[in-house]
Symmetry: C2
Subunit: 276 residues, 2 copies
Amino acid sequence: MTLTTVSEARSYTGTQGVYRHASAATGTDMTFAVYVPDHAPGATLPVVWWLSGLTCTHVNAMDKCEYRQACADLGLIFVCPDTSPRGAGVADDPAFDFGQGAGFYVDATQAPWSPHFRMWSYITAELPDLVAANFPVDMGRQSIMGHSMGGHGALTIGLSFPDRFRAVSAFAPIVAPSQVPWGQKALTGYLGPDRAEWRRHDAVALIEDGARLPALLVDQGDADPWLAEQLRPQLLADACRDAGIDLTLRTRAGYEHGYLFVSTFIADQLRWHAAR
Amino acid sequence: MTLTTVSEARSYTGTQGVYRHASAATGTDMTFAVYVPDHAPGATLPVVWWLSGLTCTHVNAMDKCEYRQACADLGLIFVCPDTSPRGAGVADDPAFDFGQGAGFYVDATQAPWSPHFRMWSYITAELPDLVAANFPVDMGRQSIMGHSMGGHGALTIGLSFPDRFRAVSAFAPIVAPSQVPWGQKALTGYLGPDRAEWRRHDAVALIEDGARLPALLVDQGDADPWLAEQLRPQLLADACRDAGIDLTLRTRAGYEHGYLFVSTFIADQLRWHAAR
C-alpha cells in the first residue's frame, strides 16, 4: 500500500500531514489527515480516530476542530479520514445527506452504491493497517470519536470492536439511525429495506442486541437544530441505562451543531480519551 | 448603517457572529465576523482588529486561526473583516494576488479599481464606527494584528494611527511592499507608478519617514516559502533598529506560512495585546 504525501506542515509541537492512497476497500483514491505530535525517535503514541459528519472531507476537522493543541499536549496522534469514496466514477446523489460525503460508515450492499461505498471496511480494516504501517502509532492504545454522522460511526464501530478502543465518544451523534430520517434514508439506500440488516449500524440497536462498552462520553448542544428530529440522544441514554453502560451525556447549554460547538469541547473529550 | 446578522453561534464562552452591511466606503455589501466573549450587562471589552491575507474573506480566520479560546479567556472582542470589495459589479483580476481578495488595505486611485477598492477608508473609518455602534467595544482599548498581506495592513494602519492602537503585531507580514513583487504589483495597480504615493502604505517606508510606535511584535516561520522573496522581515528589523522602535521579531523554526503556523502562536500574540 503506497502512501502519497499531499502536504506536511508544522503546527503546535507536531506535524499536520495530508496523505492519499489507492484504497482496495473503496476502489478509489482516498485522502486522510494525520497529526503527529513531536516524539522521541522510535517511540510510538496512542492514536485517536476522528470520524466526520455529513458533507465533510478530511479537511473540515483539520481546519476547524482545533484538536492540535490538546493532541500535542497529550501526545495523541489524530487521524481524520474522508466520509465516503469520491470521484467521477463513483455513484452520487444531489442531496447533502446521501451519496458522496455521506457514507454513513457502512459497506453498501445495494446498487449503485455497493461497488465503492465500503466505508466500514475502509475505516475498520484497511486504514488502520495503513496507518499502523506508516505512522508511529501504538495500536494497543486506540480510541475513536466523531461528530454527527461521524458520531454514529464512532459509536457503532466502538460498540462492534470493544477490545480495540480504550475510549469511545461523540459530539452530537446520530444515535439511532433506524429511527430518524437521515438514517432511514441512508440505511435503506445502502443496505436495502430489511431493517434486520440495519441493526449492526445503529448504536441503540447494537446495545439492545447485547453490545457493551465500559463507558461512553457524548457532548450535545441544546441549541442544535437537528436535536429533536435526527439526533435524539435520549434514545441512547435509555439504551445505556437498560444495558448498564456508563454513559456520560453532557448537555451544553446554548451550543449548536457545528465546529463552533465541537472545537469548544474537543480538548475536554481528548483529555477523557488520554486518561484511558 | 444597518447591520444584518448572517449567523451567530456560541463558541467557547462567547458568541461568534457574522454580519453584513452596505458599505459607503466600498459601495458594495461587506461581510465581517465578530467574536464577543461573555461579559456583564453594560460592560465593554477591548477590541482586536484582525486583517487577513491574500485570497481570504472573513471566513478563513474565523474557521482556522483558533483565536476564540484565548479571546474568551482574555476578554477580547475579535473582528475579522474581508480583504476587498466583492461582487459582480466590482473589478477583478484572475491572479490570486491582485483584485478581489487582495485589496492591500489601500484606497485605490487608479482605474478600474478606484470606485470600490477603498479598504483603507473601510478599515480605518467606516468599520470602526459600525462596530462601535453595534458591539460592546471599548474604543479606548483597541489593538490590531494581521497575517501576510494583513500583516502589512496591521503595520501600516498601526503606524498611521499611533494613538488609536495599544498594540500592533503581525504574522509573516509583507513589511516593505515597495520592495517585493506582490507589493509592487498591487501598489502600481491600485495607486499608480509614482512611488512617492506608495510610502504611506509601506511599513518600512513609514518608519523611514518618521512614523513611530513604542513596540511591535512579529512572528515569522523560517520554513515560510514566501520569506525571502515577498516578506523580508530583516527590512523591518533594520528600519526599527535605526528608528529606535522596540521590535520583537520571533523566528519560529520549522513553521510555514499558513494557518497551521498562525493558530500555533495566536494565543501568545493575543496575550501580548491583552497585557497592553
